[in-house]
């Protein structure tokens, strides 16, 4: 099955996972690239996206698996045709075959941008960095069984903090994204809970790259 590496940026980040599936299904059709359909009572076009992205999160490393019905276009042609049919903010970077098994996907490199309208608080970078060196950091996570406390430290592999300008600082983190999964937004929740004076006025997340358990780029 071919795989597409794509980006979701700009206002496209406000599309939900299900919206994005529909957007791709239609884009394939518009591009003249007929998808195969699932068998059964209610046939559906076969597309699947590896790690569902939360609404509002930007990404440069999304993976889409799809299956075409008797198509003789090359991967580069598929990529070009798809980009001609997609919406603003969703862009296919590359189409390739023989992608790795999604279950080997383990780590995510992401940037969390913290915005402070009245300027970044003094010593914020160091204090935030220090917070995440604690042996345990409990954050409330909303799941199927209600709210549970979760220790997020074991799911953070690497973390650095830099001030990018007088109002913003970036957290760069390498975190678990599958079995177990750490939602990057919980890093902000940890700051709000343990460093309330460092609570940003706004925070946004961007996925930069995905890796396997050995920190090799995952494709």
């Amino acid at each position: 099955m071919p795989r597409a590496l794509f980006e979701k940026t700009g206002d496209a980040v406000f599309m939900s996972h299900l919206d994005l599936m529909r957007v791709f299904q239609r884009a394939f059709k518009r591009a003249g690239l007929p998808l195969t359909h699932t068998q059964g009572f209610n046939p559906r076009p076969s597309v699947s996206i590896a790690l569902p992205l939360s609404v509002g999160v930007e990404s440069r490393c999304e993976l889409l698996d799809f299956d075409l019905e008797g198509c003789n276009a090359s991967n580069d042609e598929i990529c070009e045709k798809l980009n001609g049919a997609l919406v603003r903010g969703v862009r296919v970077v590359k189409v390739y075959n023989d992608g790795r098994k999604i279950r080997d996907l383990a780590l995510l490199d992401c940037t969390i941008t913290l915005e402070y309208d009245n300027g970044v608080p003094a010593d914020a970078c160091n204090r935030i960095k220090e917070l995440f060196t604690a042996p345990q950091l409990l954050v409330e996570k909303r799941g199927k069984n209600g709210v549970v406390e979760q220790n997020i430290i074991p799911m953070i592999r690497k973390l650095s903090v830099q001030m990018t300008d007088e109002n913003t600082c970036d957290i760069n983190a390498l975190i678990c994204c599958q079995n177990p999964t750490l939602n990057p937004a919980l890093l902000v929740a940890a700051i709000e809970r343990y460093l309330p004076e460092m609570k940003p006025d706004f925070a946004k997340v961007c996925r930069n790259e995905i890796y396997d358990g050995n920190e090799t780029i995952f494709r």
């Binding site: 496209a12 406000f14 599309m15 529909r22 239609r26 049919a85 919406v87 915005e115 309208d117």
Partner: protein, 611 residues
Amino acid sequence: MTDLLHRILPTVQKPARYTGGEFNEIKKDLNDIRVRIAFCFPDTYEIGMSNVGMRILYGVMNQMDGVWCERVFAPWGDMEAAMVKNNLPLWALESQDPVEDFDMIAFTIGYEMCYANILNMLRLSGVPMHSKDRQGLKNIVFAGGVCAYNPEPLADFVDFFSLGEGEDITVEIVSLYDCAKAESWSKEAFLHEVAKIPGVYVPSFYRHEYNNDGTLSAIVPLDGAPKTVTKRIVEDLDSAYWPTKMIVPSTEIVHDRANLEVMRGCIRGCRFCQAGFSCRPVRRKSAEVLYRQAVETLEDSGNNEITLSSLSTSDYRGLKDLTDEMIPYCAQTHVNLSVPSLRADNFSRELMQKLQTVRKSGLTFAPEAGTQRLRDVINKNLTEEEILTTCTNTFSGGWNNVKLYFMLGLPTETDEDVLGIAELVYKIIKCWQEHAQNKKRGLRVHVATAYFVPKPHTPFQWEQQITPAEYLRRCKLLKSHFYSKSITYDYHGPDLSRLEAIFARGDRRLGPVIEEAVKNGAKLDGWDEYFNYGIWFDALKACGIDGDFYTVRGYGEDEILPWDTIDVGISKKFLLRERHQAYAEKITPDCREGCAGCGANCLLQEVKCDA
């Protein structure tokens, strides 16, 4: 740093409906633009983007040189709260510019209970609600859609109305505005000129005078305004503009599919139905044009479903030719072809089986009334035999699901008619017991009753609406006669339909009521989450308006009606004749069996009525 809107978006439900950026969205360079139009739909994005009329007119206006038409929808409550808290005015999707920056603000109005949204959208835009408070050409507010056929409740707020089908008239209006703006006309001068365009109604050019009993004593045209304004139609649908490059929403909408209009008008003449009369005369598109447009639309949009829409698609003469061509195309391209509102005739039954739409949704009937007598009164020519034959066929085909829609409070309705609904339902259950293939699955019959709302420009435009208490009594009476576990019975509360009835036949004195309700938070009344009858009840009271005047009173046959200025092509004489036929329990055969003389053919010059 992230701007205000982009900080709000992650905090609201379904933010994708506020960003624009969909496939086929039309963007233009402001340097080339002389007239900017904010095209407002007074409900949410999901509803508005499902509206075919809006899609047509978006295309029509954007085809014009120097004109940019953008879309605006009503925000959901969470977004509205965030906008108010942060002083963020309502914006248009394409440019994200505030509505108050636009030259013209257009509304399409399909439902009386979105009147609050119109005022609320103006309020959220920071545009004065009252026509008289908007001076100059900037922010001219105009409106069209079926509710423009009785626009009086909105007369204080909307500068002018565009009546009927908008393909041609909208171009004429916008071109005139283009000229007016270039020559810096006053608003008064523009309104005087725009009123000369056939189909344009300027409410401020009419004075409404009342008798002591509250009825209208006169409608006085001022400054040479015409006595009546006749709606516009497109004569030849084959050559009419049709958008095959339609915006494809990136988020789910109510009718998330391609849509093809096969005909306009209706041959049936159900006496309660406003669309059935006000959309006449009957005109159709040819099957060849439709097939070509279907293929173009599907290829361009990538949709996997297409629907053939009209008021009664079974009556479309080209249905067999069109579906014969479309079924193989759709099968090959994995497109689901849906044909709603089919009648229970033989061809339709065969077609339904071919389309297998029944498999998905089960059968739906709208007999509207429980007895043949009352169905004759309302001229709903659906017989019990037709219903039972169709049920027999589908039950023996393995389906076990039927939906039935009725109205309560129809003219001349008695308890016998109400209980006739129960009897019909039991006959359907019996039919299932005799013909079902697999009884283990059980039968589901969904019965829903609506509260009859008399509408302008129908033979029932003079009728009384029964009181809410009487409506509820009839609902309970019916409910007490449903014993079977197979039946699910839903009836809506009477409040919304009572308000709908007030505004449907309302006059100018209702303007302050809408304003007062909006001031107290009325919005999104079509949504259970927001509808609050208390607000409207208080607003009517505060304005000294007796709702019964517009509902249970009924209108006299010789009374001046608020919508008498509006001519939809149907003569009052015909409507009266139909009303008297109804009371005589006599049906009027459909237009194909013989012209009943409604008058709508007078709107045609180039072609004949296709009934």
